[in-house]
């Protein structure tokens, strides 16, 4: 017997997919399968508020849980068991506990898992941050005076560093490029943010990588950098990026080299009955060009769920409607100490960066940085500007000529 639509992944992407399937008119069965034991929850607090929350573990999980809509009251949630394998020609998935589920439509929303450093040593001192259980384990280790070494100075690494510093930890960040977050927002702004963070007591080791981690023998880890510098750490946080969870789709002839290759309607490689939502979806955005990309922003599960649900519900019910090109404007943010960074667009594709407002030497006073490709504005990143100033920069981006 078929389960109707099976949604692989019970994070925000899986939840939004279920809600949007209902909104798109799919009245049949929906089964959501998730590896984590928790119902869908909001991840941004994991690197910030949750780490300083006085709630007990259960209360902390509760506080970040997503509210569930009445439209999804009849969804069958299978939590704590991941899908292990799938046969797309047979429209069947198998769970780790041996359960077999047949489907008419499949949503791949399995998200990411953290990359780990390719070195052994001091496993009990090493932490990652992806799930709420990861965050609770890290929270238990953060205390004033402890030395936290954050490996990888991306957004999550810098947010954890700022939160740990707020708690009173000594904090060092190891970043392989010349400035933290430079891959996401470019060098000029990254250098300014590094000055801001360093002024609040975070020590940076830029242009550095980890060569080895060893147990120092008295409950701490010894981190050795490529330059030969050694750091003693009570806590090592590995925030060096993620891998898409797509291994369960092995053996189906798909290109799984970087998530799931989708068309602009989020169909997985032309299969009418399989769509992808969230971090695993690699799709072209005609706002920019025809290159399929994965986008690891919080807004992506919501945006892709809407379109993917319309695509899948249209296929399953036969009521296909023309949705027009899917060209969402990416939006992302990061909170570090009292500073809010708000971005719109795709800074990573720019070939030119300019300051549109403010002064990079005084970012707390408000700065807007523009990112251009072939002269066209493709992104804007705003620092320390209140939300009533955002609309102006969004409207500049909405003028971008669309390729489709």
């Amino acid at each position: 017997m078929s389960c109707g639509v099976v949604i692989a992944g019970a994070g925000m992407a899986g939840l939004r997919a279920a809600e949007q399937l209902r909104a798109a008119g799919w009245a049949g069965a929906i089964t959501v399968v998730g590896a984590e034991p928790h119902p869908p929850y909001n991840r941004p607090p994991l690197s910030k508020g949750l780490l300083v929350s006085p709630d007990d573990d259960a209360g902390a999980v509760d506080r970040i849980a997503f509210r569930q809509r009445a439209s999804t009251h009849d969804v069958d949630w299978r939590l704590g068991t991941a899908i292990e394998t799938a046969s797309l020609p047979d429209r069947t998935v198998w769970l780790a506990d041996g359960t077999e589920l047949r489907y008419d439509g499949l949503v791949a929303a399995t998200g990411l898992r953290p990359r780990r450093l390719p070195v052994e040593g001091a496993p009990g001192r090493r932490f990652v941050l992806r799930t709420v259980d990861d965050a609770l384990a890290l929270r238990a280790e953060l205390a004033p005076g402890r030395h936290v070494v954050v490996v990888g100075g991306g957004f999550i690494g810098c947010e954890v560093a700022a939160t740990a510093r707020t708690i009173g930890c000594r904090v060092s960040v190891i970043e392989p490029t010349s400035a933290p977050m430079s891959g996401a927002i470019g060098r000029p702004l990254a250098a300014a943010l590094q000055r801001y963070l360093a002024a609040r007591g975070i020590r940076f080791h830029v242009g550095e990588t980890v060569r080895a981690i060893q147990d120092s023998g008295h409950g701490t880890a010894s981190v050795e950098l490529a330059s030969g510098t050694g750091l003693d750490a009570d806590v090592v946080v590995e925030s060096i990026g993620s891998h898409p969870n797509v291994q369960w789709l092995d053996g189906n002839g798909l290109d799984l080299s970087d998530g799931l290759h989708c068309d602009n309607a989020l169909r997985v490689e032309g299969r009418p009955d399989v769509v992808a939502v969230g971090d695993v979806a690699r799709f072209p955005n005609p706002r920019f060009d025809d290159v399929p990309r994965r986008v690891e922003h919080w807004c992506v599960p919501g945006d892709t769920a809407k379109r993917a649900a319309a695509t899948l519900a249209g296929h399953l019910t036969g009521s296909v409607t023309d949705q027009g090109p899917f060209a969402p404007l990416p939006s992302f943010w990061s909170d570090q100490f009292d500073l809010r960074l708000q971005g719109f667009g795709a800074p990573g594709i720019a070939d030119e960066i300019d300051v549109m407002e403010g002064d990079l030497d005084r970012i707390e006073a408000g700065v807007a940085v523009g990112y251009r490709r072939d002269g066209d504005l493709v992104a804007a990143v705003l620092l320390g500007l209140p939300a009533n100033r955002h609309a102006h920069y969004r409207s500049l981006l909405n003028r971008l000529p669309q390729a489709a």
Binding site: R16, N42, P44, G302, D335, P386, A387, N388, H390, A391
Partner: protein, 64 residues
């Protein structure tokens, strides 16, 4: 339709004002102002606003 915003959660991201400009608004001092009892015809955009709130501070009282 009745809307409440948990002010202990709201961080003035302003995403709701982008999703539902007829209901939510960021004032000149950068804080949130909203219509707590908007017309039911605005339900789709209010639900969108609740979905895109980064801190999930918006509650629609009689949600479907």
């Amino acid at each position: 339709m009745q809307i409440t915003v948990d002010r202990t959660l709201c961080q003035d991201h302003g995403q709701c004002a982008i999703a539902a400009p007829g209901v939510f608004r960021i004032t000149d001092d950068g804080t949130l102002d909203f219509d707590a009892a908007p017309d039911d015809s605005l339900r789709d955009e209010v639900e969108e606003a609740a979905d895109v709130c980064p801190v999930q501070a918006i509650l629609i009282e009689d949600a479907r």
